[in-house]
């Protein structure tokens, strides 16, 4: 059984605090995605788990062992790097077998193992090639093959798909997921692409600025974000935010000189300093709705995406119906029943709506 335990982990680079105290526990066989904007410390955390970066505080354990002072090779992990890090002077087979060679594995067994894995990844015909003679997608596969050959307890991926084109990325996403089902190993996957996070993860850890914002399954995070950051980070196009207040049992937002009622909230006390968050697909047309000026209309066939603004604040609204909008129109929209979230504008914390 190999869980990965992260407990109050801190990383300092000189005066810079890259990781400011993170705790999370990853279950055996789980596929966990670390997601967050650039610079939030995802790679740093992953590299600390790998043993490539020293831990400034807290503990990391793999299985039942605390690994803080253990070199990478004793941690029973394999890592797939963003730029693949294939050894340029070795063939595909040599790259994949490198760890076994270092472990002084029996030559015949090593060849057999490399062939098996190459078979799984469709690399058999490339085994004698050098990395420079492979396409990006093939290199990516070799990098994964090199990890799989070792049969590690934990796989670590650092943005492994970010150098691939969109189509290949989607394919590899599925493939990595299938691989996870097949190998049943614990996998920790770093990405800044929230779609990758949503589609691949058993659980997502959303990071921001060296801290964890929220941990949960993709749908938990999507449906019940604990704060404005998580709400705005997951979902594409992202959630719309408008400043709002509650007054006289109504949730109001200002548009130009008017106050527009977004929803009735009869049980709530008056208060200012709110942000209302509405997902793009949770709008309906309403004569007394929020006046949004239409800037761009993008039909995708299945739906139309309307990009506009309210007092200069960008909004994106997605309709399933084939409504007709023109540039410069004012579309009046409001959230559907229970189709919005409330946040404290200062702290970003989510507030109960009921």
């Amino acid at each position: 059984m190999v869980e990965v335990g992260i407990s109050n982990v801190i990383k300092k680079y000189g005066a810079v605090d890259a990781i400011k105290g993170i705790s999370a526990s990853i279950k055996d066989g789980e596929f966990v995605v670390l997601v967050g904007p650039s610079g939030c410390g995802k790679s740093t955390l992953l590299r600390m788990i790998a043993g490539l970066e020293e831990i400034s505080g807290g503990t990391i354990s793999i299985g039942s062992k605390v690994v803080n002072d253990m070199p990478p090779k004793q941690r029973n992990i394999a890592m797939v790097f963003q730029n693949y890090a294939l050894y340029p002077h070795m063939t595909v087979a040599q790259n994949m077998g490198f760890a076994l060679r270092l472990a002084r594995a029996n030559k015949a067994e090593m060849d057999k193992r490399v062939r098996e894995v190459a078979e799984i990844l469709g690399l058999t015909e490339y085994l004698d090639r050098f990395p420079r003679a492979l396409s990006g997608g093939q290199r990516q596969r070799v990098a994964m093959g090199r990890a799989i050959v070792r049969d590690p307890a934990v796989f670590l991926f650092d943005e492994p798909l970010s150098n691939l084109d969109a189509k290949l990325r989607t394919e590899m996403r599925t493939e990595i997921k299938a691989l996870h089902l097949r190998l049943k190993a614990t996998m920790i996957y770093v990405t800044h692409d929230q779609i990758e996070a949503m589609t691949m993860a058993d659980r997502i850890i959303v990071m921001h600025d060296g801290l964890v914002e929220q941990i949960g399954t993709p749908l938990e995070l999507y449906d019940e974000p604990v704060n404005k950051f998580v709400a705005g980070f997951l979902g594409s196009p992202p959630m719309n935010f408008l400043p709002a207040r509650i007054s006289g049992g109504k949730l109001l937002t200002d548009a130009g000189s008017d106050s527009v009622c977004i929803a009735e909230m009869p049980d709530q006390e008056d208060r200012d300093g709110l942000d209302v968050g509405i997902r793009p697909d949770k709008f309906e047309i309403a004569d007394d709705g929020i006046p949004m000026r239409v800037n761009v209309v993008e039909p995708t066939g299945a739906e139309i995406q309307v990009v506009g603004d309210v007092d200069g604040r960008n909004m994106v609204v997605v309709f399933r119906d084939r409504l007709v909008f023109n540039h410069g129109d004012i579309a009046r929209v409001r959230p559907v029943q229970n189709g919005f979230y409330l946040f404290d504008a200062k702290t970003g914390d989510r507030l109960p709506v009921a």
């Binding site: 790998a50 043993g51 490539l52 070199p71 990478p72 090779k73 992990i77 394999a78 890592m79 790097f81 730029n83 890090a85 050894y87 340029p88 002077h89 063939t91 490198f98 760890a99 270092l102 472990a103 004698d128 090639r129 050098f130 420079r132 003679a133 090199r146 070792r150």
Partner: protein
């Protein structure tokens, strides 16, 4: 352009088949100069010395360049400073460099000689040809180390750090990281450095001329000084030209061997 490059070479080739002295028109003599050189005992001493010194210079220098480059590349701070320090000998004129070494190794008052004497080594290169060749080799390495260093250093720092990280995760020790990752990747650069240094070292002249002038009794002569002596001391231009051509052939042969090795190591695609 071609003429500028090839003109003098062709002229020298023609000269090598003639006998000429100052104020005399060259007379065609066929292979006579070559025959004379190849049967000259001093030519063979010079060739042998060149062979020993050049090989010592090239390989010791390469080894040092790799060591120094590894050290400089592993520095966390002050890399640029160390880099500049290592380059210094290249900026010093050959004559000044050699004279400084001669002074340091002066048989009676030199710092090096005295230090060696303390540990019981008699390093009198004015009398002992082997010691002289060691001194010459040392000076040549000292002077050209920056050249090899720069080539090797550039190759070492071009190895992406991710490769070492991948190797560490794969279970490599520091030693294995060097032998299985760094070394194979810098082989083409090392071969390039070797070619250039072979060709330069083959023409070695000032180190020897300024230290021993080939003495005592022409025992420390190298091909460069042999050529100079033949041409300018004995005014045998035909012989000097023939020596020059033999040296060119020697260099070309060496370069060809190493170029082939580079070509293989850099383009061995499946």
């Amino acid at each position: 352009m071609t003429f500028m490059l090839a003109g003098p070479a062709v002229y020298v080739l023609w000269l090598s088949f003639t006998v000429s002295n100052f104020g005399q028109n060259p007379q065609f003599v066929g292979w006579q100069n070559y025959a004379a050189i190849l049967t000259d005992r001093y030519f063979w001493t010079a060739a042998w010395n060149t062979f020993i010194v050049v090989n010592a210079v090239v390989y010791i220098e390469l080894l040092l360049a790799v060591l120094v480059a590894l050290v400089v590349a592993s520095l966390k701070t002050g890399r640029m400073l160390m880099f500049a320090v290592v380059l210094v000998p290249y900026g010093i004129s050959e004559v000044v460099g050699v004279l400084s070494w001669r002074f340091l190794a002066d048989p009676s008052i030199g710092l090096i000689t005295n230090t060696l004497a303390l540990i019981g080594i008699d390093f009198n290169w004015t009398l002992n040809p082997e010691a002289a060749l060691v001194l010459i080799t040392t000076i040549s390495i000292w002077h050209h180390l920056p050249f090899s260093f720069v080539i090797i250093y550039a190759a070492i720092i071009s190895v992406p750090n991710e490769l070492y990280e991948a190797a560490r995760v794969d279970g490599a020790t520091k030693w294995q990281e060097f032998w299985l990752i760094t070394a194979p990747i810098i082989v083409p650069a090392a071969l390039l450095a070797i070619i250039f240094r072979y060709v330069f070292a083959f023409r070695m002249f000032s180190e020897v001329w300024l230290v021993t002038q080939g003495g005592p009794i022409r025992l420390t002569e190298v091909l460069g000084t042999y050529l100079y002596r033949t041409g300018f001391r004995y005014s045998d231009f035909g012989g000097a030209a023939a020596t020059g051509w033999l040296m060119v052939l020697g260099s070309l042969l060496l370069a060809a061997i190493y170029l082939r090795a580079i070509y293989r190591s850099a383009f061995r695609d499946a």
